[in-house]
Amino acid sequence: MSGLIQLLNSHGIPQDFVIKAAFYFIAALTLLFALFVVLSRHIFRAAVYLAVVLTGIAAVYLFLDAEFLAVVQVLIYVGAIVVLFIFTVMLTADIDSGTFVGTLRRMSVAAVASLAIFFILFKVINMVTAWKTAVPAGASISLSQLGKSLMTGYALPFEVISLISLAALVGALVIGKAEKR
């Protein structure tokens, strides 16, 4: 990787500029695909676009120095949740056969509802925190630091995660199997 930076520096391109340009490109792409998710008339395509959006958010996490969160985002949200969405679409008969056409009434109600949620979130975020544009110094935790605290200080909560996952697994199977028979 340092070779790549050297290559950029030798051509007079500052590293800061590259990072900023990459961020704006990824952010724009993420927003574009988020629009596709909402505007797509096919629910299956919307699920695939959602995978792109979630990957873009993972990249934004990397820009914020949140390495583990980025791994979570790709592994759990892109890898598992979107797959679950796609499976749900595949399992439901005829969900994708016709395209959905919204009526003006429905669209206006949806617009009001989403605008209301937007303003509530905007207000709350504005009240609680200032708009920060950079990661504060010392705020980032590396993957190895996280692993170390998980294995030493937080060993018991770590094992409890496993138990909770087990409970979720058994619960999902009990409900899933019961509905089948």
Partner: protein, 119 residues
């Protein structure tokens, strides 16, 4: 900053997409445009196409997908462990084995419940 280390990942991503896109663009530029109904039909390994690609899937897949989500979380917690495994040695190994063993109980339960049997 972490982001510099991921520059190479971004480079691979861009090159990967560019490679796939280039294959489509080059073939689009080179191929003759002479469509006919047989040529436009869906290619299914040379077999005659049966029905639509949109079919209802077996419900059994959904249970496997649910299990996948749980074991995906397990893999997630393996990631920070791998990074420091050499440093912490046997203790962290035992901790992780307990973690995995608890989830293996769930796997055995699913096995006994017949999630992996297909009708």
């Amino acid at each position: 900053m972490v982001i510099q280390d991921y520059g190479i990942v971004g480079l691979f991503l861009v090159l990967g997409i560019a490679f796939a896109a280039a294959a489509f663009i080059v073939s689009w530029l080179l191929r003759p445009r002479d469509p006919n109904p047989v040529k436009n039909s869906t290619y299914e390994c040379g077999e005659i196409v049966k029905g639509d690609s949109r079919v209802q899937f077996n419900v059994g897949y959904y249970l496997v997908a649910l299990m996948f989500v749980i074991f995906d979380i397990e893999v997630l917690f393996l990631v920070p462990w791998i990074v420091i495994f050499r440093e912490l040695g046997v203790v962290s190994y035992i901790e992780m084995m307990i973690f995995v063993a608890i989830l293996v109980v769930g796997l055995i339960y699913a096995w006994k419940k017949g999630v992996f049997e297909w009708q």
